[in-house]
């Protein structure tokens, strides 16, 4: 499943870059995130609890930021597994200044396995889009709290 989108934040590119590299902000903004721990530079362990029908359950996973080019782009890979199955993702997040705002664009691919793949994979792209939207919206709140 391919995912892509754009989001705009009213802040400088450096501020937005810092925001998207701040584990505390990420922890608060990732939907259902119960815990996010930095294992090493750019490496995180996470526990997620998701309450949406087809993907409901606890997940434990790992995220890693690769090939960072501050403040322009980084690659994010992650994988998680839980009762409902497996999720694996690989994506690129890019930042660009547009006037007094920063445009964030993402492209990525997500693979699912187990129960969530067999039951309602058709629903998953919808759920993923909803969760991503929620994440970027919450990051906006986090941005305000940083200011």
């Amino acid at each position: 499943m391919k995912l892509e989108g754009k989001y705009t934040y009213k802040a400088s590119q450096q501020v937005v870059w810092d925001l998207f590299n701040n584990p505390r902000c990420l922890e608060k903004a990732i939907p259902g995130c119960k815990k996010l721990e930095e294992r090493g530079p750019g490496k995180y362990d996470a526990i997620l609890k998701i309450g949406i029908a087809a993907v409901r359950g606890m997940y434990s996973g790992k995220f890693e930021v690769l090939d960072p080019e501050p403040p322009n782009r980084y690659r994010l890979i992650g994988e998680g597994s839980g009762t409902p199955g497996l999720v694996k993702g690989d994506g690129i997040i890019e930042f660009s200044q547009e006037g007094d705002s920063t445009m964030l664009s993402y492209t990525g691919e997500v693979q699912v396995g187990g129960l969530i793949a067999g039951v309602g994979q058709r629903l998953i792209s919808g759920i993923a889009k909803m969760m991503i939207k929620e994440f970027f919206r919450k990051m906006k709140t986090e941005l305000k709290s940083l200011k």
């Binding site: 009762t83 497996l86 699912v112 396995g113 187990g114 793949a117 067999g118 039951v119 058709r122």
Partner: protein, 808 residues
């Protein structure tokens, strides 16, 4: 029997004896069985299609209160052997993954707990360390040397590979005016019986015996296979099947690995363990039909005569191959040329593995795959030669005077009248008029299509055909296999009532009803005076390798056993009556419940008196006669012989015929199909009970409708199954079922006592290609070719767009 009693019940649409108990909720299914101290199992399944199991930690799960024990792959490897399978290099297929998983849903551990809830919760606490591997999902890719290999001990993904030649295809090709070719893809679809797999197993360590309740369709060959895998003699494993099974359709022949798995869980934990498959497990990991790629060509004369067929067929049995596979590739050998006089064949057969769910027979057992190629090709030949698709069929049919007809591949077609049955189908749809309407509709840009399939419907498996997986040289080193026997015991009690003990193990077909009808006719009694117990208990039934309900066996070999056993009882009754009447047995006739001396109507004795004597006054029996009144019959069909040195075999023993004629309209804007007329004409020999036959025919039509338009076990490119619920695996409902006009031609089989033969699979073989042919016919002005299923609106719409793009 006098003429007035004969045929009083057989041939009538007598109501099913089974229905009352089912309708009032008094059926006896697996879930109705409650054994003392019964515990419940849940199975942990692989989320990966292909991965090493690097480790497993069950310690947290074991600590959960209520958990009684956990069976892992390591245990299964220690406690059992891989299932035996008739291919040159068998994969190591255990009841549970040992060190590697090869399809999503493959069992990796079993938790036994006080209830299913606890067992399911415990599954979440098991930690499995998987190391994912690359997957192979495509049939043809699987045959390539650089594809990921599933089984290192085999070294390739090819489980079985054979080349066959029958007749002289080279010569036929020289004589042919035209060669028609196609590549056909048949999807992986299955059956979705209302009752899923279920097993209750216990192990008694004192006599080292397993008692296993299950809803298997056999015992068939699998009781033997499970005993072999468990490392025990067959008489140490008792299988008991409850009175009612909620559907089988071949899918349940794939459940025996779970019988072994739950038996091992019972042995390890010392508990009586019950496992009931849930629907998701069923759709993900029970058993499906094979998907097949076929390259087929026909060498044809200008007048439409088909001289030869050449094909390469590749079947896919998924992550492993297990019995009765590789039957998929060889089952239809005897009827490979269908209803036609084709003498020369060149065949290449492959059975391969991919990271998909495993296979077993599925109603029609690969005849739908075969005929999808043959019957599409017949239509394609007609188109190229400018012939009518009905005409080319009449031209090539085996003619009524040619029966019994031996096919090039060794099939012995017992009886039939193919032109008559096909003509009946054409008359039902009013073929000529439909062609006119099609022309009219085309002028209005409406796309009506007419599609036929005229196919031979094999029933009664001769187990010999599985040995076709071996070359004649390899076969010569083994003992031959053959047979199709079924057993029945008929008993008469002192009051003259009859009890029949059969082991055909029906899954809803109504055998109780038909057996009662037959016995009533044979003995001149009422069907209400006959009770039937027709389930398997391997300790108290007579059975063999072939016993069970599969390959539409009952109406042929099952009824043979019923008739012959009943006639033996009647013969004994006649002897007793003659003895008591001091008459010659040849002078007696049975009429309205009494034996009469012909010509002396005052000298008679009732059935009840005869039966009473056999039980109550044994001293009065003729000298040397056994006491009591019973007889048994256990006969294989005489035509069930081993494969010969030229790879010819009568793979089934009776052969019916189906003519399907379908008129439909395709909405080219939406790709939707609307059925206008549907005639399904069958020749399954003598009709035993028209109501039951209609149910079977209707069921086979709708089952196939699902496989043709809706159903497919679909996987994404990463090997994940996309259809593990009815939300995505679309089964036709009453809303999708069109009106179907059923017709019958009755050509009695000389091989069965009543002239009847199997019909339960029938249209599942003919409907997919008949619909395919009709859609191809409808869309022929657009240049659309139909060579794969399922034909969802989406797929039809895309085919139309592609054809349009090509034209532009």
């Amino acid at each position: 029997m006098s003429n007035e009693d004969k045929g009083k019940w057989v041939g009538k649409g007598m109501k099913r004896k089974e229905d009352l108990r089912l309708l009032i909720g008094r059926g006896n299914f697996m879930d109705d069985i409650r054994l003392p101290n019964m515990k419940h199992a849940a199975i942990l399944r692989s989320p990966y299609p292909h991965a090493w199991i690097r480790g497993m930690d069950v310690s947290e799960a074991e600590k959960l209160p209520g958990v009684r024990g956990i069976l892992t792959g390591e245990d299964v490897e220690k406690m059992s052997k891989p299932f035996s399978v008739g291919v040159p290099v068998p994969p190591k297929y255990y009841a549970c993954a040992v060190d590697k998983v090869r399809f999503v849903g493959e069992p990796v551990a079993v938790v036994v707990a006080d209830d299913r809830y606890i067992a399911e919760d415990a599954l979440d606490l098991i930690k499995v360390d998987y190391e994912p591997l690359p997957v192979v999902m495509d049939i043809e890719e699987a045959t390539q040397p650089d594809s990921p290999i599933l089984h290192d001990n085999i070294g390739s993904n090819i489980y079985s590979h054979r080349l066959f030649k029958y007749g002289n295809p080279e010569k036929a090709y020289e004589e042919a005016d035209l060669v028609v070719k196609g590549k056909f893809l048949f999807p992986k679809y299955g059956s979705t019986p209302i009752e899923t797999y279920a097993v209750i197993a216990s192990y008694n360590p004192y006599n080292e015996e397993f008692v296993i309740y299950n809803n298997y369709q056999g015992p068939f060959v699998t009781h033997f296979l499970v005993a072999l895998a468990l490392g025990i003699p067959e008489n140490k494993m008792r299988w008991i099947v409850p009175t009612d099974i909620g559907g089988g359709f071949g899918t349940k022949t794939g459940m025996y690995p779970y019988i072994a798995l739950i038996a091992l869980a019972a042995k390890k934990t010392g508990m009586t363990v019950k496992w009931l498959e849930d629907r998701r497990e069923h759709l993900l990991a029970s058993s499906t039909g094979t998907d097949r790629v076929t390259y087929m060509e026909a060498a044809v004369k200008k007048d439409g005569t088909i001289l030869a067929l050449k094909d390469k067929a590749i079947d896919n049995t998924g992550g492993y191959i297990r019995p009765p596979e590789p039957g998929c590739a060889y089952r239809s050998t005897g009827n490979h040329t269908g209803a036609y006089q084709i003498k020369d064949l060149d065949r290449e057969v492959l059975v391969v593995g991919t990271n998909k769910c495993l296979t077993a027979p599925n109603r029609g057992y690969t005849c739908q795959e075969l005929y999808f190629s043959v019957e599409r090709l017949v239509d394609m030949a007609a188109t190229e030669l400018g012939l009518d698709p009905a005409e080319i069929r009449f031209k090539n049919f085996i003619q009524p005077g040619q029966f019994p007809y031996t096919t090039a591949t060794g099939g012995l077609y017992d009886a039939g009248n193919y032109p008559k049955a096909f003509q009946m189908a054409l008359d039902i749809i009013d073929y000529k008029k439909m062609r006119e309407e099609q022309q009219k509709a085309r002028k209005e840009s409406k796309y009506i299509g007419i599609g036929f399939a005229t196919v031979v419907d094999p029933s009664v498996t001769n187990i010999a055909y599985v040995t076709l997986a071996l070359t004649p040289e390899q076969r010569a080193k083994e003992r031959p296999k053959s047979g199709s026997g079924e057993s029945v015991i008929v008993k008469m009690d002192p009051l003259g009532k009859v009890h029949v003990i059969a082991s055909t193990n029906p899954q809803g077909q109504g055998h109780e009803t038909v057996i009662s009808q037959i016995v009533a006719d044979e003995l001149g009694i009422h069907p209400d005076d006959v009770t039937v117990s027709d389930v398997v208990d391997t300790h108290d039934r007579v059975y063999s390798i072939t016993t069970g309900s599969y390959s539409s066996r009952f109406a042929s070999v099952g009824t043979n056993a019923v008739v012959y056993a009943t006639r033996k009882v009647k013969e004994r009754m006649t002897k007793i009556a003659a003895h008591l009447l001091e008459a010659n047995p040849n002078d007696l006739e049975l009429k309205k419940g009494k034996f009469y001396v012909k010509g002396s109507p005052d000298r008679s004795i009732s059935i009840r008196h005869v039966a009473g004597t056999a039980h109550w006054n044994q001293a009065a029996l003729p000298e040397g006669m056994d006491a009591g009144l019973y007889a048994s019959s256990f006969l294989s069909m005489p035509t069930s012989k081993p494969v010969d040195d030229l790879d010819r075999v009568d793979s089934s023993n009776t052969y019916g015929f189906v003519a399907e004629a379908i008129v439909l309209e395709v909405d080219i804007e939406t790709g939707e199909v609307k059925f206008l007329k549907w005639a399904s004409v069958h020749d399954s020999g003598t009709v035993l009970n028209p109501m039951l036959l209609e149910g079977q025919v209707m069921g086979s039509c709708i089952h196939a409708l699902g496989g043709t338009l809706y159903e497919e076990f679909a996987y994404d490119e990463n090997g994940q199954c996309l259809t593990a619920s009815f939300q995505d695996y679309l089964v036709p409902t009453a809303m999708e079922v069109p009106k179907i006009d059923i017709g019958h031609v009755e050509t009695a089989s000389p091989l069965t006592a009543l002239g009847s033969k199997g019909a339960g699979e029938s249209s599942s073989m003919s409907v997919p290609v008949a619909i395919g042919n009709a859609i191809a016919d409808a869309l022929s002005p657009l240049g659309v070719t139909i060579d794969e299923l399922p034909l969802s609106p989406n797929k039809i719409w895309h085919l139309i767009q592609e054809a349009r793009a090509k034209k532009d």
